[in-house]
C-alpha cells in the first residue's frame, strides 16, 4: 500500500506505536472523524495560554486567560468541524474553562506547592525567550534523520527565558502525569533533537517542561513537570524511528494493537470501521 507523506510528527509516530491500523486509517486512507470535545477544549485552552503570554509581551495589560479562552473556544466552534460531544454540552465546557482560568489554582512541581490567584497570575511566571524582538511561542521545528526520507515536523509551544522548551497539556483530573511518564514521552526527545539540529544552544542540559492544566471545575490544579533528557535517549529514539517505525510503515505493516488503551469504542476514532473493533 503506497504511503504518501511529506513529513512525520511525534504524534503521528505515537499513533503508529499505539495502533498501526489506526495510523493507516488516519494517514493513509485519510478518513475524517468527528473531533472529540477533549481535543477542542484542550486546543482552546492551549491557544488561550499562548496568546496570553504573547500579548503580555506587547502590552502591560493583556486580556486575562479567561477572556483569551472565550475567544479561542469560539474559534474552535467556528472551524466548521464535526464535533463528537460525547454527552457533554457546550455550556458545561464553557463553564469548565471559566472555572479553570478564574479560580485560585493550586500548583505542584517546579518548586513547593503553591496557590495562584488565577491562571493569568500563574502564567506570569513563564517569561518567554525573546528572539528578534518576538517571544518564542509556537515555534516550528524540523528534524532530519539520516535514513528517514521525510522530515519530522513539530511546534514547540513555548521556550522560556531560561532556554527551556515547554509544552502545555490539558489533562483530566485522574490522568497520571509524573516525571517518569514525561521522560518516557517521545515529544521532548524529538523537540530537543530538532532544536539541537537547528543549532539552538541555550539548553545544554536538555531540559524540558510540561505544564499540565487539570480539568477541574471546583479546585483547579496545575502541575509543572521538569525533566532532563540525555543524548543517549535522544539517539536511541531516532534509531527506533529510522530502523523500526519507518521501514514498517513503508512495508505497509498496519496490524491492530488490541492491547492498547485506545482499543475501545470510547477512544478509538475508527472503532466502528475496524474489523478488529466494532466494525
Amino acid at each position: 500500500m503506497p504511503v504518501d507523506l511529506d513529513h512525520l510528527s511525534y504524534s503521528s509516530i505515537n499513533t503508529y506505536l499505539l495502533c498501526p491500523r489506526s495510523w493507516m486509517y488516519h494517514y493513509v486512507q485519510k478518513i475524517k472523524t468527528p473531533v472529540s470535545t477533549n481535543l477542542i477544549f484542550g486546543s482552546a485552552m492551549h491557544d488561550a495560554c499562548e496568546e496570553y503570554i504573547r500579548m503580555g509581551q506587547a502590552t502591560a495589560d493583556p486580556f486575562p486567560v479567561s477572556e483569551q479562552f472565550e475567544m479561542a473556544w469560539k474559534k474552535q466552534l467556528d472551524r466548521n468541524q464535526e464535533i463528537d460531544w460525547q454527552g457533554e454540552s457546550e455550556d458545561s465546557l464553557v463553564k469548565l474553562g471559566e472555572s479553570m482560568t478564574t479560580k485560585t489554582i493550586k500548583v505542584t512541581g517546579g518548586g513547593p506547592e503553591r496557590d495562584y490567584r488565577n491562571m493569568s497570575v500563574f502564567l506570569n511566571g513563564f517569561e518567554p525567550l525573546i528572539v528578534d524582538n518576538e517571544p518564542v511561542i509556537e515555534k516550528r521545528v524540523s528534524l532530519s534523520i539520516p535514513g528517514l526520507p521525510i522530515p519530522l515536523i513539530g511546534y514547540v509551544d513555548l521556550i522560556t527565558s531560561d532556554g527551556v522548551p515547554c509544552d502545555f497539556k490539558t489533562a483530566s483530573p485522574k490522568s497520571r502525569w509524573s516525571a517518569e511518564k514525561a521522560k518516557s514521552e517521545l515529544q521532548p526527545l524529538i523537540y530537543l533533537a530538532s532544536l539541537a539540529q537547528e543549532g539552538y544552544a541555550l539548553n545544554p542540559d536538555l531540559q524540558f517542561r510540561y505544564i499540565i492544566l487539570r480539568k477541574m471545575k471546583t479546585t483547579p490544579k496545575a502541575q509543572v513537570i521538569e525533566i532532563k533528557q540525555s543524548w543517549d535517549a535522544i539517539f536511541e529514539r531516532l534509531r527506533m524511528i529510522v530502523e523500526d517505525v519507518w521501514p514498517a510503515i513503508e512495508a505497509g505493516a498496519f496490524p491492530p494493537n488490541e492491547s492498547s488503551w485506545k482499543h475501545n469504542d470510547r477512544y478509538c476514532d475508527y472503532w466502528n470501521l475496524c474489523p478488529y473493533g466494532g466494525g
Binding site: 500500500m1 503506497p2 504511503v3 528534524l143 532530519s144 534523520i145 539520516p146 535514513g147 526520507p149 533533537a193 539541537a196 539540529q197 543549532g199 540525555s230 543524548w231 543517549d232 535522544i234 539517539f235 536511541e236 531516532l238 534509531r239 529510522v242 530502523e243 521501514p247 514498517a248 513503508e250 512495508a251 505497509g252
Partner: protein, 266 residues
C-alpha cells in the same frame, strides 16, 4: 481511446542497511503469501529492485518479474507506470483498429517516436500465446508500449529489460502482466520499429534491428551512513560535542565521522 491506469511510484533511492534488513525479513512472508511464488531470494531481489526504482516494497511484485533462472524483467504495465511517474513522458497516445495498433510517445527532452504493429506481423512472427488468440489488439499495444519505454526511457527503467514474449519465452497477459517463464534469450523475429516522426509508421517499412537486451547486473546495496553507524564507535554525547549537533543527512553523518576520527587522533 482511453487512458490506461498506470502505477504510482516515487523517486528512486538507495537502499539503506535497515531497508535491506526489512526486505530480508519480509521475503519469507512474501513467498508464503504467494505474492511471489518461487523463492525467498527471488522475492528479496524483486523488493530490492522495486526499492531502487522508488516503489513501495509491496508494489514491486506488481511491476518486476524474476524468472526461474534469476533474470529480472519489468512487466510492460509496470514500465509504463514508472515512465509516467518520472515526469519525462510528454506525450503518450495510441490508435488501434481490428488489424493493427500504433503507439506514440515523446520524451520531454527527446523526439517523438511512433511504432505500428499489425496482427499479420504478429502471426508471421509466430507469437501465439493464449492472450494473442483472445485479445490480439491489447497484445499489440503492450508490445509497442514495452518497446517504446525501453527505447526512450532506459535511464528511468534502470536498464532493466521489459518482459516481452517476442524475445523471451515468457507469457504476457492482455493486461501487460507476466504469467510465468524463463528468460533464455532468443532471437527476436521483428525488432527496431521506430522512426522520428509524428505520423505512425508501419513496421513493414522498417529494417529489422533488435533492441539491445543486456542482462543487467544485480546491484549490490550500498547502505547510506546512519546515526547507528556512528553509535557503533562513539556515544551520543561525544557525537554531538564533536560535530556540534545532530547530523541530519548521510553526508553529514560522514562529515561527523571524519571529525570524530580526527578528534580521536589528536
Amino acid at each position: 481511446m482511453t487512458e490506461e491506469r498506470a502505477l504510482v511510484v516515487r523517486q528512486s533511492r538507495q537502499i539503506t542497511e535497515s531497508g535491506w534488513k526489512t526486505i530480508m525479513s519480509i521475503a519469507p512472508t512474501a513467498t508464503a503469501a504467494r505474492m511471489f511464488g518461487v523463492t525467498q531470494e527471488q522475492a528479496a531481489i524483486v523488493m530490492l529492485t522495486g526499492y531502487e526504482l522508488g516503489l513501495p516494497i509491496s508494489a514491486a511484485f506488481d511491476v518486476i518479474y524474476v524468472s526461474r533462472d534469476g533474470k529480472r524483467v519489468l512487466r510492460p504495465k509496470g514500465a509504463l507506470g514508472l515512465v509516467r511517474s518520472s515526469g519525462l513522458l510528454e506525450k503518450f497516445d495510441w490508435e488501434s483498429d481490428d488489424t493493427s495498433a500504433t503507439v506514440t510517445m515523446k520524451r520531454v527532452d527527446g523526439p517523438e517516436k511512433s511504432m505500428t504493429l499489425t496482427i499479420g506481423q504478429a502471426q508471421t512472427a509466430g507469437w501465439k500465446s493464449a492472450a494473442w488468440q483472445t485479445t490480439p489488439q491489447n497484445m499489440l499495444r503492450w508490445r509497442l508500449i514495452g518497446w517504446l519505454c525501453d527505447l526512450l526511457f532506459p535511464d528511468v527503467l534502470l536498464g532493466l529489460s521489459i518482459a516481452d514474449d517476442s524475445y523471451l519465452p515468457v507469457e504476457i497477459t492482455s493486461d501487460g502482466d507476466v504469467i510465468d517463464g524463463t528468460t533464455q534469450w532468443i532471437t527476436p523475429p521483428v525488432t527496431e520499429l521506430t522512426q522520428d516522426t509524428t505520423a505512425p509508421t508501419s513496421v513493414a517499412q522498417s529494417s529489422p534491428q533488435p533492441p539491445t537486451y543486456t542482462e543487467p547486473p544485480i546491484p549490490q546495496p550500498e547502505p547510506a551512513m546512519t546515526l547507528a553507524d556512528l553509535l557503533q564507535t562513539w556515544n551520543a554525547a561525544r557525537i554531538v560535542e564533536v560535530y556540534g549537533g545532530i547530523p541530519g543527512t548521510p553526508a553529514q553523518v560522514a562529515e561527523a565521522k571524519e571529525k570524530l576520527e580526527q578528534a580521536d587522533a589528536s
